[in-house]
Amino acid sequence: MIVLDAFDWGERRAFVRELHRPGPASALAIDSVLAILSAMGVEDVELVDAEPEGDLMEHRWSVYNDRLHYDFKYELRQKSSRPATDYLAVALATSGIEDQKALAQARLALHELFSNVLEHGIPRRADSAVRLQLTFNRDSLEGTLRDGCESFNPLLASPLPVRERLKLRARRGYGTEIARRLLDGIEYRELEDGNEIRYWKYFGEWAKR
């Protein structure tokens, strides 16, 4: 069930509340709402989840300009990365992208980046959070991972080559390498109050194999 939650006439932006999980029925409902709003001249529609579940602090998804956006914020004091894994799985599965191999690669790469922050990030404040944003285009995924941790560029960490790690029987330290190899692009930027990683990945014929 989709209900109009709020509407900003000045910005021509609608906030729509979704009351059950995404699926064919809700996709149809969303299409209907979008068609109505489009006829009203609304260009941006944001769907806001009624009640975040589990350990998630906040999550929302939106559709505008033919792009699907997911935004997920998670408290750093939560040490389990499983909610992030689950969120990613759902976000990717409902993205409409058909390239399953590339989706699986994106899921793993983002999981690794996210887990890295949870496991090694030093929060600047007690309520510091990590925020993952995903934007799906027809043939690509792009987004950012921002955290409120002390400055740390994971891309500068010079991991041992995988072959060396195998010799050492290393149990850890493969994560950043996985993200590097499975994503098409990844960049780091230091923020005033934390860190930002920008990433992108192509699907279909442009996908990295």
């Binding site: 979704e18 059950h20 999980r21 995404p22 769907l47 989840d49 579940e53 589990g54 998630l56 999550h59 929302r60 998804w61 997911y70 389990s80 990365s81 499983r82 909610p83 894994t85 689950d86 969120y87 799985a89 759902v90 976000a91 599965a93 409902t94 399953q100 191999k101 699986a104 690669q105 899921r107 793993l108 999981h111 690794e112 887990s115 496991e119 995988v162 072959r163 790690r165 195998l166 029987r169 290393a170 149990r171 850890r172 330290g173 493969y174 994560g175 390498e177 996985i178 190899r181 499975l182």
Partner: protein, 115 residues
């Protein structure tokens, strides 16, 4: 959007023994930060008990993180130290892409019986 979790705690159980003596282990769930220690413990138990040739069925494993990869790498090395081996079977496309990304396809032994 509701979160419909596809994750599950890792369960590893012995599902039989092949004629050549290899113990068959079936894993189900995610081999991530929480699942990897479980897999490590089960493999250690069998190695200590003298079962040094294992076929590990991954067909019901939906997701493996870098932590799972590291655990598997260490376990394979431990088994080879005692003349044993862990043969992988049933890795889906997602797991295969992890192994390929890390150039691990040659490191891991694949159970050839079911190829």
């Amino acid at each position: 959007m509701s979160i419909n979790s596809d994750s599950s705690a890792l369960v590893v159980h012995a599902s039989g023994r092949r004629a050549d003596g290899c113990l068959l282990l079936a894993a189900r769930g995610n081999i991530d930060t929480e699942g990897a220690p479980i897999l490590s413990e089960v493999l250690d138990q069998h190695r200590f008990a003298g079962d040094t040739r294992i076929v590990l069925d991954l067909s019901a494993v939906g997701f493996m993180s870098s932590c799972g990869v590291g655990t598997l790498v260490a376990a394979v090395a431990d088994f080879r130290d005692v003349g044993g081996e862990i043969y992988l079977r049933g890795a889906n496309a997602s797991l295969q892409s992890v192994f390929e990304a890390l150039d691990l396809t040659e490191f891991f032994a694949v159970d050839a019986v079911f190829l």
